[in-house]
Amino acid sequence: MRRCLFVLALMAVFALSGGGGALAQATAPPAGWSAADCLTCHEKVGSPTFQHSKHAGLTESCASCHQNVAEHAKAQMAGEKGPVPSVKALKANDINTTCLSCHEKDSRSSYLSSMHARRNVACTACHSVHDAKSQTAQLKTKVAAETCYTCHKAQRALSMRTSHHPVREGRMDCTSCHDPHEGNRAQMLKADQVNELCYTCHAEKRGPFLFEHAPVREDCVSCHEPHGSNHPRLLTQKMPNLCWNCHFTGSGHFGSGDNFSTEEGVPVAPAGAPSGYPTVNSRFVERACRTCHVKVHGSNHPSGAFFVR
């Protein structure tokens, strides 16, 4: 009975509007029409998550996003094929246009320039209007990282490495550093430059310092891999090799060669061992270079020119 009344209402709308032909989006559903009418057939999309969201309360209801809703209903009632208002059938750019008609502001203002848009990632690739799983942002997964990992597989593996930001523990998320809608900033970062982003949590590294370590001032990623590393402190390489990338000239430590470690050493050379038998090299164990050069990010000590104070 309810279904018949709905169809009659739609037919009345057609009659009054001159009917026929494709109905443009601009043809609003009749007054009193609501999502409940679509739900008579499409029960599953009316989850509590959707019902309690802002989308359920839009003026034009389902027709706010789905095109040709009335035509679709009319055709279904008539047993004809008719248009299919599914958003899934649209191309990514058309889906994005639909969503951005309301959501193109704040950080989403530059979405159309973003790498995601350029790679034809639709809003619905990450977000779900009808069946969101997350507590915020209406994502298809419970946490944002799981959404990101559906494409960014390398970062999923890196996040499991022993030295990592607390993403897999749920203390941080990919969106702590990245804005997936950002189209203007490099790597979709939430800051103008990577160091400024890092300082939002690591302000103790901002300085400026009396004695500066130049590559640190330029780019934290020169030495650190923020997604995860098997070396301590998220370093890209283990010390001292990391430091050797730049400090390869003759200095007090490495000019003579007596501070190299060319193989695994022992604490004490066995009795009768030849000169040069490898013992554990102090520049390789534990904190390595940072055993003495503790202030590698910069020192504000008047005697900290070599970062040992």
């Binding site: 499409h42 300085g207 400026p208 890209t236 003759g250 020192s299």
Partner: protein, 769 residues
């Protein structure tokens, strides 16, 4: 392709218990205007004891009763509210949410993150006050007398082991742990204004220990000491943001927005220094060394940032956007004295441990930043996309530096050394230079749709400028091609190739440092998604990044940091970082045989590798040429399943994740070289100072397994029972087997952040209201 939601590791934040209903909901009637719902979960958990801090590095896994989840949300009389709580009252608790009441919107997030970096570390010291680590003066004198009483060549590892054994056996225990407490609030007061206006406030407190710190204490006996670095820091941030959104009914111009923001961020470190007693001296001495060493901590600093921007919308998806930001970072914390050693005097006879001796009382440091972004994008005709972008970032160190005349940098806390300004170190030391840099970059992309295929070509031009570094200018130009193919449901392909070349120009004696040197970078990516059936999907991903550093400098023989007279670059000895690359491929499978079951799995392979090279000389001639090729191979796989054994009643969930990372340091050496005995002409065999691979090189294995059986025994009640197992192992040749000090006199705390395995059983009761 349908993507299932894998079961996350539930101990992180109790997500397993906080689930939405499992499968598609039956439709509810139109929701009433007012509504209220929530979830509360109680947990009863038992587990093995774990000594390693790694198990709870960033989380708490509490024994006994806990509340992993509590949340509520709703709407009443037009007022919306939501509060989500995780790990209630635990050290890793988090609360976030918000409310909208008429004209006011409030959102908040409070997050506590434990940082446990090593349990039961050993220390010879006691922390008598924040950041002050002391030992008995009598003991220090005795140890010093014993050590200085023998010739230096007899102070071997066995000697120190014997001398310090009793002291180490009675050492104190320390957990290297810290806590980050971070809270922020946003007030949105623009709900009923013709423009957006919001205020933000953030407060973050960090306490405990940052990790292992400390450093060297130079004297007749030089030791390096590991202690916990005190962390007593407060960061506050105040912000305001205003935006005006406007629409136009014009066909060509559709509106846009303008915005402005301002933030002030203040960092305060309430632990001014780190002081450590010298284990071998109780009194200051000029030649024998100081009684203590004092290290600086992070100086208080502040930053302001103001920005304004705009975005304009035109027809044909044309967007013009831009933003300009100005930042200012300042730091003026009072300096510590040059030294803590009372016996050191400047050449003028002033005590170097006095603040009055300092040339300046503080730095009065300032860095200005300017950021400009400008973007244009359009789809002028259907299928064609054009994007242009210009970015500029300028960092200028405006600190007024002075020429340093001397300090104790050369021999900290032991002797005064004059500073010697040079052309590339006009302020006394190269590290005293006020480094500045500027990057400008222009990107252009053109994409075209050919049916379901989108192809894109892109190029970028970037210029790099620096002051006080060797590479004062450089470019970073490149191009890229990409293709995206996506049919309606069953096949999707993304491919990208990116090639960029960085140049370096400037003056250098020994060669540009790796972060500024010439670099050729390529990136290759491919992702294929196959969904042959609605219930079955595969994803294959491949990515490779390769960085080559050509033209690395050949070695020049030096003495005392300057080239030996007559020395020429030695051919065939490129030095420093030569290459770095990262390869990875992944296969994912998702299978949903029915509404009652979801199964998934994945495997990832990774290979990280970097090569750097060293050489040493004898006179002006090449002696050793050492190539260090460090790498690690990662194998990661996971499997997960969620099965409704009885729909809406019994549900079984399973998660397995395993990662193994195998590190390797491949060391090769020049056959005619020598390491400890000059004059050798044959390759020294391993075990005698030769070259051999290090196979145990930051190796790890991590395995997590969770099985959960849930029973919904009433409409709003669910009880679940679960078992979890986690195992972690770590191995590194350079730290394995070392005790508190391996050789020389290096006092490492050796906090336990190593391997563990743990069994966990739990029961959870979930109520949904």
């Amino acid at each position: 392709m349908k993507r299932i939601t894998p079961v996350t590791v539930l101990f992180a934040c109790g997500l397993l218990a906080a689930s939405a209903p499992l499968f598609a909901q039956t439709a509810a009637p139109a929701a009433p205007t007012d509504w209220f719902s929530g979830t509360a979960t109680l947990s009863l958990l038992g587990r093995d004891n774990v000594d390693s801090s790694k198990f709870e590095e960033y989380r708490v896994v509490p024994k006994g009763v806990s509340m992993p989840v509590f949340n509520f949300q709703g709407s009443q009389g037009g007022k919306d509210f939501a509060v989500f709580g995780q790990n209630i009252f635990q050290a890793d608790q988090r609360y976030f949410g918000g409310a909208t009441v008429g004209w006011l919107g409030v959102s908040f997030d409070y997050n506590q993150i434990p940082h446990n970096m090593g349990n039961n570390g050993l220390t010879l010291f006691g922390e008598t006050s924040q950041g002050v680590w002391n030992m008995s003066a009598t003991l220090r004198q005795a140890l010093g007398a014993a050590a200085e009483g023998v010739p230096s060549n007899q102070r071997t590892y066995p000697f120190y082991q014997n001398l310090l054994g009793p002291t180490i056996a009675a050492a104190n225990s320390i957990d290297i742990s810290g806590l980050r407490q971070r809270g922020n609030v946003t007030l949105d007061v623009g709900k009923r204004l013709p423009f957006d206006l919001s205020f933000t406030y953030l407060r973050e407190v960090k306490t405990g220990y940052r990790g292992a710190s400390g450093g060297d204490v130079i004297g007749t006996v030089t030791s390096a000491v590991d202690v916990g670095e005190p962390m007593n820091e407060l960061t506050t941030d105040y912000g305001i943001r205003g935006a005006y959104n406007f629409k136009s009914s014009n066909q060509s111009f559709k509106g846009g927005n303008v915005y402005a923001t301002f933030n002030r961020n203040i960092y305060n470190d309430r632990a001014d220094s780190l002081v450590i007693d010298n284990p071998f001296r109780a009194t200051d001495n000029l030649s024998s060394g100081p009684a203590q060493a004092r290290f600086s901590t992070s100086p208080d600093n502040a930053a302001n940032r103001g920005a304004f921007g705009f975005m304009l919308r035109f027809a044909r998806q044309t967007r013009v956007s831009g933003d300009l930001a100005f930042g200012s970072w300042t730091q003026d914390a009072a300096f510590l004295p040059y030294t803590i050693n009372s016996t050191i005097f400047t050449p003028a006879g002033a005590p170097a441990n006095s603040l009055s001796t300092l040339q300046q009382a503080s730095l009065n440091g300032k860095i200005d930043t300017t950021s400009l972004n400008f973007g244009f994008s359009s789809r002028p005709v259907r299928g064609l996309g054009i994007r242009l972008r210009y970015r500029s970032y300028d960092l200028s160190n405006k600190t007024a530096k002075w020429v340093i005349t001397g300090d104790t940098s050369g021999s900290p806390d032991r002797s005064w050394t004059p500073a010697e300004p040079e052309a590339d170190a006009p302020f006394g030391y190269a590290t005293a230079n006020p480094y500045s840099n500027n990057t400008k970059r222009f990107d252009a992309q053109v994409g075209y749709d050919i049916g379901d295929l989108t192809v894109e070509g892109a190029f970028h031009l970037a210029s790099l400028d620096r002051t006080y570094r060797e590479a004062t200018t450089g470019d970073d130009d490149g191009w890229a091609l990409s293709a995206v193919y996506h049919t309606s449901d069953w096949l999707g392909i993304r491919a990208v190739y990116d090639d960029s070349r960085r140049t370096a120009n400037g003056e250098t004696l020994y060669g540009f440092q790796a972060d500024e040197a010439k670099r050729n970078r390529t990136r290759t990516g491919l992702q294929v998604e196959l969904t042959p059936l609605a219930k079955l999907g595969f994803t294959f991903s491949y990515f490779r990044r390769n960085d080559d550093y050509p033209d690395r400098p050949d070695r020049i023989a030096v003495s005392g940091g300057v080239p030996i007279s007559g020395a020429q670059p030695i051919p065939g000895t490129p030095s420093g970082l030569l290459n770095a690359k990262y390869d990875t491929f992944t296969v994912d499978v998702d299978y949903t045989p029915s509404e009652r079951a979801e199964v998934g799995g994945f495997y990832s392979y990774e290979k990280n590798a970097s090569t750097n090279q060293w050489s040493t000389t004898t006179g002006v001639n090449l002696n050793n040429l050492l190539n260090y090729a460090g790498s690690d191979r990662g194998d990661t796989f996971g499997a997960n399943a969620r099965i409704a054994l009885v729909p809406d009643k019994w549900t079984f969930s399973f998660l397995l994740q395993h990662q193994k990372v195998d590190g390797l340091m491949d060391i090769t050496a020049r056959e005619a070289g020598s390491f400890y005995t000059p004059g050798r002409t044959t390759l020294i065999p391993p075990g005698q100072g030769g070259a051999a691979d290090i196979v145990n090189y930051d190796d790890t294995k991590l395995t997590s397994v969770v099985g959960d059986l849930a029973y919904a025994f009433a409409k709003a009640w669910t009880i679940s029972f679960g078992y979890a197992y986690e195992k972690y192992t770590y191995g590194n040749a350079f730290t394995d087997g070392t005790t508190i000090f391996p050789q020389s006199v290096l006092f490492f705390m050796k906090g336990n952040d190593n391997g563990y395995n743990v069994n966990i059983v739990y029961s959870r009761l979930n109520y949904r209201f």
